[in-house]
Symmetry: D2
Subunit: 346 residues, 4 copies
């Protein structure tokens, strides 16, 4: 079957591999949507710079897979052929502290492997997944919705939960790439009424506005200060979430977090400088690092999306067949789009 | 191999069964300790009254197993022969909401099965367990410690966590059977300095006092009121936990919970009447139902016991070899002992 | 000045009293709205049955006052003449544990006094309040909004916070009197999308529906079971709040609370029976008694209402001038209306 | 009466001022103990560098006062002559959001004033305090205990609560000045069994060890890494609290905080650099800025100290009469002592 590998150097390799066979406790998933995540670009496509959890092992790429179960390995217990499934992108040992907390992303066992990093991912016609990595995708949600949930939307949702975002809060989102757009969208579902977004990229800021995911959007810090002043009387937002990974954006997010507020850091890479007394202590602020969602929170997110009728795929701006994966990656790498997704049409 | 079944009518049946063979993802455990839980007595030994999770299916009894791994089935990932393991007593589907929260006790799948209820338990020389049900038992802890952790101590620990017990709190424990004794012991580890216990059984009250697990112990409600008056100036305890399952004890526990305090209900069976305005609303009190511990909290408990040098087996008053299981059950049924445990001596 | 006293026996007494003079740290408030609370009816109007916090001392009635500051006593620090203020209805000692937590309702000092119960309330042209009892009412909010906030909406908001209601949750409200209507309205502001209401009174159920405060509303338990089945697949609501004070309604609310959910008890009076194992323990449910809001949460509620443009006065169905207080109380006592408010027109 | 002012330039000025008279709602306190805080040294004694909350206004110094009520102003409600009181060191407006949360330290009103900064403090024979700033000091606690509670111990306690420290946790304390010693002492009361301390000052490290407030104490980062490796197997401590105010110590504290752990920042001044992905996101860590305690938490601390029989004054190494305040400040400024306290002997 056709598949995509990422040899580095910003290239995409189309290869042919054998259709995999599900082993014990595994299922065979016919792929229907496989989206591209910022970390695919940052840590794999441009160069293979990852270590540990981020070390790409030359496998079929794609860690946001969604499809339909077409075969069951022995010892499976709950799924059936025909089930539509979101594949949580990391399989852990299920026995370490992190797995038992529900966060296989942090699995400390050598058996830990992420689709698209250490085990074959979604950029192929078929994928083998652990049954326990699969979350049933109910019908109002599309396969593209499911692909987006499997990593990026899960990550955004987890971050918002870490920040305890609710209708009591106004939210500042710094960085309006796919994860930032997801945070803005999901914050609404949690009850947040006022969302302020910032991204230095005018197209991304414009996309957030056009999708009505933000109430106010700016492209620089001065404009941000003005908007925060206008909207909150200068107090700042009760919750801020950085999805940019940039020091300046994080520091701006902290400055505009309200006293007693929470700043959640989700965007990967780089650093941040704190002026501890003025920014944290005297303003009683908490900072939370939040990685990928727990499996259970992802399941809850699916339920919440069904209940509210929202669709993550609203942030998809580009769809490609697998054969055009190279173009898909070039588009995602340009950093001016919404989400980019490889799709299999019927 | 020899094994014990519980046919009901307060009888114990010693039978011979084949030594089981571990299947995929399973391990064979050579049993070293298998303790008796109050629910074995209440719901199985006396009569088979359970439904759902509590329906006994005629299997080898014993849902508090601890032993040593002696063989591995195919597909196991972390355990090795020679590992000493606590067996979390319920195997769930790992895919429903309850399992994903870490509480297989609440698993909603038909594949859910508890050792000693729906799958063979610890009252036999060998037991087959799911690898993911096994928690490694570090060396300072004994096999008897491990057996007690696998259900009762886990349950007590979960209840205390639900009540957020810490050094800020004084604790009232109603019901000083094994779970109540466990709650008293573990509360110390969480920092609670003052523990008041009540049990209508004088021997049990005496045991709690002799083991120094309580600072004050009483056998009736009048004496309880006096002690609470003396110790807390009548304010009540910040946290109370009922391990008795009796309405009167629960209601006494609620009366002696401090304003803004938490009452955790762990003891099974029966009811409770609330005078809502006076007891709950005007006193700003929360009531929490808490079942069995999560797998992760059980692992945390093991770590905490190692760190503090405490030993659950301190509450064991009676040990029997498997051949004397009948006597073990009669002792446990009498309700005047500490914990009763079946042990395999070297 | 004209004022209202409640001598009991379902009568209203119109009297003339001297205009009060603000003392140290007090302000004189020209009354503009003074609404009637369920507890005025239950504990004062019908008969004087209260003890402690609920003992009516023959003062000017009305514990939901809102108006405009027209004079300052010595030693006031923040308010100015012309400020529009919500009067938090209880003045505490500010030095006991309850006051320091922000809940003067629970003040344990003899100096504690509630407007309309132990100190003069809002059913008169002028009222003297402690400066610290006053919360500034920003302009988009009306005086009637403010009166409703001062007790009932505060109580509903506090209950929802106790239940941690957010967009993650569906809400069941039992009892659709003014506090229940408030809970339904404010739940939306916290992000709750699905609200199910139950009241045995068809007019009250109809009002909730007409005001679009509920998505589903029923008048009996069978219909409730059907709706919960339909809306939640039988799982129940993540959060339930009882505002009825009736045992049967509370028990229905508990039955329809989802596993791991929270039931908040706000409605006063009466009892409740629990089937502990089946309802609480095996379903991992928490019950919270919640009294009146903290002062700080009331301030937060005001801010939230301004931010969202919502108006509590939407639930007011009847307005009367002070001279018609008798009719106002008769209407409120009939139990079929929305909120009843005494107003002073310009 | 004799009093102390701090004109800056590391000098202490002994002056004579009139004995103050308590106004409305105020009490006159005969001083019995008045300790010196690190911020007195940092922000006042050396030079007057503070702004806002830290701007010293030439008043009688000393913001950790404790004594006996000897006269009541008009309008006081709860205190009586003879009451022993801890004076919470900041008087707020009681009406802003911060005051209503219970944190007058953050009061946003111009009327906010701290003893020893903007209103007369404890370095004089008598002090006038707001009645609501006074917390009754029960008898097992000494006046010196009370002085230490009024700022430093309160601050440490608040920080530990922010980090949710309990018996589940091991604690790392960086900076073993008086606040760090307080954190170590109070952590025990909350249930923490293992405390690791670090201070670059060997005398301070030695004091912590001699007082048995720490289980392990080191004076440099290499030794810290070794101890954390040995004690926690390299996982790090569940809770860390920085009381040093130094960037390197904070960064060491973060490195040695366990996955999912909490780092609380209490020490004032300076900055901190974060490596966001490696230190926060992938390790799921939260950082909390925490200022001074709430009034209610200070009251709770007093209760907890009484209950446990602990005495903050154990960390006092130097006591001086008021006349020797100059020597007291020189000792405190040297940074090698435990707590320094001005005392009035009977």
């Amino acid at each position: 079957m056709p598949a995509v590998r990422l040899p580095g150097g910003s290239t995409v390799e189309l290869v042919t591999v054998d259709r995999p066979v599900p082993g014990h406790g595994q299922v065979l998933v016919r792929m229907r949507a496989s989206s591209i995540c910022g970390s695919d670009i940052r840590a794999i496509y441009r160069e293979h710079l990852g270590h540990g959890a981020e070390a790409y092992q030359g496998v079929v790429a794609g860690h946001e897979p969604c499809g339909e179960v077409v075969a069951l390995g022995p010892g499976t217990a709950r799924l059936g052929v025909g089930d539509r499934v979101v594949v949580y992108h990391i399989a852990g040992c299920q026995q370490c502290e992190e797995c038992r907390r529900g966060y296989p992303v942090g699995c400390t066992s050598p058996v830990r492997s992420a689709h698209g990093w250490q085990r074959d991912g979604g950029h192929a016609d078929y994928l083998v997944a652990q049954e326990e990595s699969c979350l049933v995708l109910p019908h109002p949600l599309t396969f593209v919705d499911g692909a987006l949930i499997s990593c990026g939307f899960g990550t955004a949702y987890e971050g918002l939960l870490r920040g305890r975002a609710s209708g009591r809060d106004r939210l500042l989102v710094t960085g309006l790439g796919p994860v930032g757009l997801a945070a803005a969208m999901l914050a609404r579902l949690l009850g947040v009424r006022t969302v302020i977004g910032m991204d230095v990229s005018a197209p991304r800021a414009g996309l957030a506005r056009d999708l009505r995911l933000v109430d106010h959007v700016v492209t620089d810090e001065d404009a941000l200060a003005d908007v925060v002043e206008e909207v909150t009387g200068g107090e700042g937002c009760e919750v801020a979430i950085d999805c940019s990974g940039h020091p300046a954006a994080r520091e701006a997010a902290l400055r505009h977090t309200r006293r007693w507020g929470r700043l959640v850091l989700v965007g990967e890479g780089g650093g941040m400088r704190l002026d501890v007394s003025n920014q944290l202590i005297h303003r009683q602020i908490s900072l939370h690092g939040s990685w990928v969602s727990s499996v259970q929170h992802m399941a809850e997110l699916i339920e919440l999306l069904v209940r509210t009728g929202e669709h993550p795929e609203r942030i998809v701006t580009h769809r490609y067949p697998l054969a055009e994966a190279g173009e898909a990656y070039r588009t995602a790498d340009a950093g001016a789009s919404g989400k980019v997704c490889i799709v299999w049409e019927d």
